[in-house]
């Protein structure tokens, strides 16, 4: 008998017994092993029995024996591969847990050797990295040897793959898994420029991760890429977000801003940053940077450049975080799914709630209802041109409806913090150029969300001309995104248009303002009921007479936008209607528009009536098409009477022509009177009509006339 035949006989015996009498099977194998200790199959059989029975300790012991005695057996390697795979993945099934437990029973030195050898056999970069990470996590002392090279391998792989987003598997592994190990290993010597490089990589990743788009179909994403627009993060599933090449568990990054702050703290400590006493919040960091900036001009050489880098990276992170927080409230759909409940988009516009008052008509008037001489038409618009602005918008007030926006204080805070960070980064030429370097390497000009913040910031600063170009740029971003959307969704994509109108208005370009606005109205669906104003708005209108340089965060919904459009049109026509020269058309438009929010505009209406009385006549052929307000109708009926001053009213289509041709014929005039009376009676019956539908129709049907009637 040969040794091999002996071994085969012994293993065969054990196999026959294993199901019926496992103890006897093991006894056979123990005996066999003492006879032929160098036979692999005997030991593998022993291992197999223990593994199949999932006995962790004994299987681990036998695996160890095999690993030490038969390091070149392919079967052993297959086994080790299965185990290390179980270590890497997040599978929770019983067998995977057993395999992980099995690995835990091995002595550290063997685990280390096993992982290293398993790593050598990996050809896939991600797998290899995950394997090495297992090693580095378990054996911190190996970080010094393998940490940086693993990091560089990952960054290199990212470069070779030429990925279009920093939120990719290589960067994730580097930033979230490898980098903390590297920088938290005290024995690790890391030069500052390497630390800065890593810091930037981490920041780019975390920002990209946080601002990644919501779940989107491939078509949408594809079109974005087609535009050369780097979407903020690769959008693949909002709820269960998976980074290509990683498992779902591995793709999860918790508290990204906090993690980033952690890295910032360690890098700061390692680079010996000024006054870095571990303050743990972004707003605190900004305050510290502001202080540090004051010393900047006095510094030189290496201290200066170190300080500069510190200020730029810190302020930039505060900027991006605050801007993100602001935009996530203002346009939540950018980051969440379109159908996320309870959130609505907001839009920063001129505050027009005082449009019904006469203050802007009568400079320095105390009482709105007090009749005064009309102001001349050279009334200055609310804001002037770009250069002087409103003192760069410092201290402008932003009106919000606190009931509709629960986190309004935080949102406004974020907006302010972001602006302050931006200002800080542009307070010195050196800072600005370093910041611009970061921006261009991250291609921030392709970040739609950042563009939204920047535009709002420029609007806030009163630089409307600049805002216009920013908005045009943004509209071109958004254009390809438009598809078959819900009305609200499509309205959200009109936000650039609405803001354009608001900016044109602020610049006094009323015709442009109305043109944009009427485009917006054309996609609006009139609300079935007249939106009632909230008491808070009322108090604001009545209570404070601000000089009209306020801004307002308005919810970007049809319900809120339609009234805004009407107010803005009113504001455009108001000034023209009440000039000394006669413009019946403008006055007529104003009267139509004043119906909205009646009786807020009663004062202005009476002013209009006064003007008509002064003129002695009034011609507005659309009157009966769009005026259904009973108070107004009564007032006009009254104007025609003797008591009312016998005002000549030409409110029916073609009526003026009739009068011109038949002035001598009393009968015809009588007929005209009869027509007017009938029209009035018919109009009174229309009082119950939905005013919003009437006004919406007015905007749609009279679009051309409306635009043409503005200079």
């Amino acid at each position: 008998m040969s040794a091999q035949a002996d071994c085969e006989f012994l293993v065969k015996k054990a196999r026959e017994l294993v199901s019926e009498d496992p103890w006897a099977a093991k006894a056979w194998l123990i005996t066999a092993r003492t006879l032929y200790p160098s036979d692999f199959n005997i030991q593998y059989e022993m291992y197999t029995i223990e593994r199949n029975a999932e006995r962790t300790a004994s299987a681990g012991r036998l695996l160890y024996d095999m690993f030490v005695n038969f390091p070149d057996q392919p079967v052993v390697w297959r086994e080790i591969t299965v185990i290390t795979a179980a270590l890497r993945n997040d599978c929770q099934d019983k067998h995977a847990q057993f395999l992980r437990g099995l690995f835990e029973t091995l002595p550290g030195r063997v685990q280390c050797e096993m992982l290293l050898k398993a790593t050598e056999q990996c050809f896939n970069t991600v797998e290899k990295a995950e394997m090495l990470l297992l090693l580095l996590r378990r054996f911190p002392e190996s970080v010094v040897q393998h940490g940086v090279s693993l990091g560089e391998t990952l960054l290199e792989a990212e470069g070779i793959e030429d990925l279009d987003t920093p939120v990719n598997c290589f960067r994730k592994l580097f930033v979230c898994d490898v980098l903390p190990l590297i920088i938290n290993t005290p024995d690790m010597r890391l030069p500052p420029n390497l630390l800065y490089k890593y810091m930037h990589k981490a920041a780019e990743f975390y920002i990209g991760y946080v601002t990644r788009g919501p779940s989107a179909d491939g078509q949408l994403q594809g079109s974005q890429e087609g535009m050369g627009l780097k979407s903020p993060g690769a959008a693949r599933g909002s709820q269960r977000y998976v980074i290509d090449g990683l498992t779902e568990k591995s793709s999860l990054v918790s508290d990204p801003w906090e993690r980033l702050l952690d890295i910032l703290a360690v890098v700061g400590a390692r680079c010996e940053w000024q006054g870095d006493k571990g303050s743990r919040s972004y707003p605190e960091i900004l305050q510290r940077m502001k202080k540090l900036c004051r010393y900047l001009p006095g510094l030189e050489g290496e201290t200066l450049s170190r300080c500069r880098s510190q200020v730029v990276i810190c302020a930039a992170l505060v900027l991006f975080r605050s801007a993100y927080l602001y935009v996530s409230t203002v346009q939540p759909s950018l980051f969440q799914g379109l159908s996320s409940p309870g959130t609505m988009p907001w839009i920063l516009l001129e505050d027009l709630s005082s449009v019904y008052s006469e203050v802007d008509l009568e400079r320095s008037t105390k009482h709105a209802h007090k009749k005064c001489k009309l102001a001349d038409g050279r009334e200055k618009p609310m804001s002037s041109d770009d250069e002087d602005g409103l003192g760069k918008g410092r201290g402008r007030h932003i009106v919000v409806n606190k009931a509709d926006m629960p986190g309004w204080a935080e949102t406004l805070d974020s907006f302010r913090t972001a602006r302050e960070s931006w200002d800080l980064l542009h307070s010195h030429e050196a800072l600005e150029s370093e910041f611009n370097k970061i921006c261009s390497s991250w291609k921030t000009e392709t970040w739609l969300w950042l563009r939204i913040f920047l535009t709002d910031m420029i609007i806030y600063q009163g630089q409307y001309r600049k805002a216009l170009s920013s908005l045009h740029q943004m509209a071109s971003f958004q254009a390809p995104q438009q598809g078959p959307m819900s009305p609200q969704g499509s309205l959200e994509h009109q936000r650039a248009l609405i803001q354009l109108a608001s900016c044109h208005y602020a610049l006094g370009e009323y015709r442009m303002a109305c043109e944009k606005l009427l485009d917006v109205v054309s996609v609006l669906v009139p609300q079935t009921q007249d939106p009632c104003r909230t008491p808070e708005d009322q108090t604001r209108v009545r209570g404070k007479f601000r000089k009209g340089n306020d801004l307002r965060l308005l919810s970007c919904t049809g319900k809120a936008i339609m009234p805004f459009c009407l107010q803005l049109m009113l504001a455009c026509f108001k000034l023209r209607a009440f000039t000394d020269s006669r413009d019946d058309l403008a006055l007529g438009h104003v009267i139509v528009l004043l119906q909205h929010d009646w009786p807020l505009g009663e004062g202005l209406f009476l002013k209009a009536v006064d003007k008509i009385c002064q003129q002695g006549s009034f011609q507005y052929e659309n009157f009966f098409n769009y005026v259904t307000n009973i108070d107004m109708l009564e007032e006009f009926a009254y104007l025609r009477t003797n008591e009312g001053g016998r005002i000549q009213l030409e409110l029916l289509p073609n009526q003026g022509m009739l009068i011109k041709h038949h002035t001598v014929t009393r009968g015809i005039t009588k007929g005209v009177k009869e027509d007017f009376r009938l029209a009035m009676e018919r109009q009174v019956s229309r009082c119950g009509e939905n005013l919003m539908s009437v006004l919406h129709r007015f905007c749609i049907n009279e679009k051309i006339i409306l635009i043409q009637s503005l200079p």
């Binding site: 103890w23 006897a24 123990i30 005996t31 054996f139």
Partner: protein, 423 residues
């Protein structure tokens, strides 16, 4: 001494016995002050025999006998005494003075009292008594040990079957006693007759002990000084031989028994057999570590010879096949572990009269020599958990060359012995 005797005679039996215990306590305590190893003298032995065991002597004195109630009270007093005496040496001396067999007619009473005391100590979990009993089992002749084991088995396995759980607990109370008990009980039940086959309950208890903690069976051995020699006729230092006998002879005994053995019983023996092999593997590590390999014969060859002679070679059925497989496995593993010191030639002559068995044949002839170019060196890794730092080269195999008489390849599974010495 005669003063004491005189005063004791005037007392009733129970108070005299108490007085003797009290006297012994004072006497040995003071003896231990002056000498490390006091001798239990003849006078003391007589005092104990007269006033505790009440053995009538030809001295013309009529000794008062104790009633059963008084005997029970005395047992309680002894129990409390051993519980309360904090000095181990005093306890051991008194236990020895009371219960070491003297080869006289007092021994029957002595053994009867000892049986009752230990049985009581098991019931109420008196650890000091169990510890003293463990030592007693170590130094007393096997014949007496077996008698004590029989008392416990009768009390806990036969008399009140439900009380087996109580006996099971001696494993936690006194592992040393448990180990000695296994040795005694496997010596008692040697399958030599139908009555000497362990009951299923006893079997299950022993298997549970051995399988749950194979190291338990080596406690006595591990706590013994290496140089110590066993008193003549005493139990083995481990229960190995007894356990091997159970495993090897059980398949053959089944036939003889009227009631068919249950599948449970079969699997218990199978588990026990695996346990025995694992004990041998542990032993190998220990012997190697202590450089005792080839010097201590834990499984004596002459005992194995005796065991083989007991096997009935006429039975060539499946049962003898199982029996011989187990025998072959034990022989091979104990030979390889250094527990059995003999040559393959010895094995061949030993087993020559047994029926043919493939495995036995393989074991007798030994492994076929590996090709000389085989690069394999069996690894030696007794401690699996060395500190994870560093990558030291694999330790070279231990030098077995000091024992050239045992060329069997050594496989040394790493099992450490965490408790040593035990107490």
């Amino acid at each position: 001494m005669s003063d004491i005797r005189h005063s004791l005679l005037r007392r009733d039996a129970l108070s005299a016995a108490k007085e003797v215990l009290y006297h012994l306590d004072i006497y040995f305590s003071s003896q231990l002050q002056s000498t490390a190893l006091p001798i239990v003298d003849k006078a003391t032995i007589e005092l104990v025999e007269d006033f505790i065991f009440h053995v009538p002597k030809d001295r013309g004195v009529q000794l008062k006998r104790m009633s059963s109630l008084q005997e029970l009270q005395l047992l309680e007093i002894m129990c409390s005494y051993f519980q309360e005496q904090s000095k181990d040496a005093v306890r051991q001396l008194i236990f020895s003075a009371l219960f070491s067999p003297q080869g006289n007619k007092a021994d029957d009473s002595r053994m009867a009292m000892l049986g009752k005391l230990v049985s009581m100590a098991v019931a109420v979990c008196r650890v000091p008594i169990l510890e003293c009993a463990a030592s007693w089992l170590q130094r007393t002749h096997a014949l007496y040990c077996v008698r004590l084991a029989k008392v416990l088995v009768d009390d806990y396995c036969s008399l009140v079957p439900g009380s087996l759980q109580t006996l099971q607990h001696i494993y936690t109370a006194s592992p040393r006693f448990c180990c000695q008990f296994i040795t005694a009980v496997t010596a008692l039940y040697d399958f030599s007759s139908e009555d000497l086959i362990p009951s299923p309950g006893l079997l299950e208890m022993v298997v549970t002990w051995v399988v749950d903690d194979p190291r338990l069976t080596l406690i006595t051995f591990l706590n013994m000084p290496i140089s110590a020699s066993l008193p003549l006729g005493s139990l083995g230092v481990t229960p190995l031989l007894g356990l091997v006998r159970w495993c090897v002879k059980a398949p053959l005994a089944k036939r003889a028994k009227e009631s068919a053995p249950t599948a449970d019983t079969e699997s218990f023996y199978s588990k026990l057999h695996l346990g025995v092999l694992q004990i041998l593997l542990m032993l190998q590590v220990h012997l190697t570590e202590k450089n005792l390999f080839g010097r201590l014969e834990l499984l004596q060859f002459e005992h194995v010879v005796q065991l083989v002679e007991e096997l009935n070679p006429l039975n060539a059925s499946r049962e003898i096949e199982l029996s011989l497989n187990r025998l072959a496995q034990v022989l091979q593993v104990s030979l390889s572990a250094g527990a059995l010191l003999c040559t393959r030639e010895d094995l061949r002559s030993l087993c020559s009269r047994l029926p043919h068995n493939n495995l036995l044949q393989l074991v007798m002839s030994g492994p076929v020599q590996q090709p000389p170019h085989s690069p394999f060196q069996p690894g030696f890794y007794p401690h699996i958990h060395t500190p994870p730092l560093g990558y030291p080269p694999r330790p070279s195999p231990p030098a077995h060359n000091t024992h050239p008489s045992h060329p069997a390849p050594q496989f040394l599974p790493g099992m450490s012995f965490p408790y040593r010495p035990i107490r």
